[in-house]
Symmetry: C2
Subunit: 201 residues, 2 copies
């Protein structure tokens, strides 16, 4: 039996929904926004900041580092470790703590890397075809239809940058996951069913 | 139901065995060496040559092209298309023909790319952890234990070069497969069971 399931996902792939339904089906705790709440509580950082910065790096790293240095002096009272890095540390500690205590599904936030040493995890990556992702992004997340593909690629690029920066590995590289699924091929519920069966083994 | 299953695999991952067992379980035809026999029959090329050149590019492309040019004039009587390219064309035609006529599992040989337009295929990639691949390579395929990791990497690199040369895509990139499985995590029979269930849907 797998006690912990980490789900990484392309934007628009339905990976978050798969995670939520999978947690319901297995009776596991589900950590997505729930994780943000807890990080906010323990770090004192605003939820919006954590949501944006806890999983993405946009623009050049240099720009980010410059920005973070000035932020850091404000928020952490003179501690010069960039705030994004501090956030990563807090987030990692919370993820390790959750994994220690609960049966759970965790979406995003480098959880696959942070928990790579445990052998009771199932590490999942969900991808999908672009047409499918675009439709979902427009219908469910109100992306503008004109620029949806570009916006999705930009979002994934930011996730990949973040993952690379903190793990020194490639986001979406098969080496980092036990299973990679194309949700366009199997459908959301098909993926949930398949993963639930694997988790129970 | 999926009529055709293509299996790409890292060397030592057990992908070929998974393919064979999956074909047995589903009652599908299995094409691995069987494909080589047929290509040999239709092209007049030696089986050993097809086995080696039909899925690998070793060394620099320039060297290969130089070698092939001189080969080509011998084997194809003055036709100057490099022999590897002629082999690819023959192999592709046979794979398309098989897919048209039979329920089958096809291992390697860019079958995922060649059949990408069909919607009755399940495209699978099998990977495994290095320790597991090394053990299998030594025990089952008599690789030398001292150099096994290097030899496995070289073999995969040659497959990746071949795939890149003929498809202009990256071998092992998640975009090219419906499902990627880590056989170390699920075991050979676990992978077979999972894929059989997916193929029947």
């Amino acid at each position: 039996m797998k006690r912990i399931i980490t789900i990484s996902r392309e934007c628009g792939s339905g990976g978050r929904t798969i995670g939520r339904k999978l947690a319901q089906k297995l009776g596991y705790a589900f950590y997505d926004r729930e994780l943000i709440d807890r990080v906010s509580k323990e770090s004192g950082l605003a939820k919006e900041f954590i949501e944006e910065q806890g999983e993405h790096i946009t623009g050049s790293l240099l720009f980010n580092i410059a920005t973070n240095m000035s932020y850091a002096t404000h928020v952490f009272g003179g501690n010069l470790l960039p705030i994004q890095d501090q956030l990563y540390v807090v987030q990692s500690d919370i993820i390790k703590d959750i994994a220690q205590k609960e049966l759970c599904v965790i979406v995003g936030r480098c959880a696959d890397y942070i928990l790579a040493d445990r052998d009771d995890c199932l590490h999942v990556f969900i991808r999908a075809e672009m047409a499918d992702k675009s439709r979902r992004a427009v219908e469910d997340y109100h992306f503008e239809p004109e620029n949806v593909e570009k916006a999705l690629r930009k979002r994934d690029k930011a996730r990949a940058n973040h993952y690379k920066y903190y793990t020194d590995q490639e986001w979406g590289d098969i080496k980092n996951y036990d299973i990679v699924l194309n949700s366009t091929a199997f459908g959301i519920d098909g993926c949930v069913e398949l993963l639930a069966a694997l988790a129970k083994k």
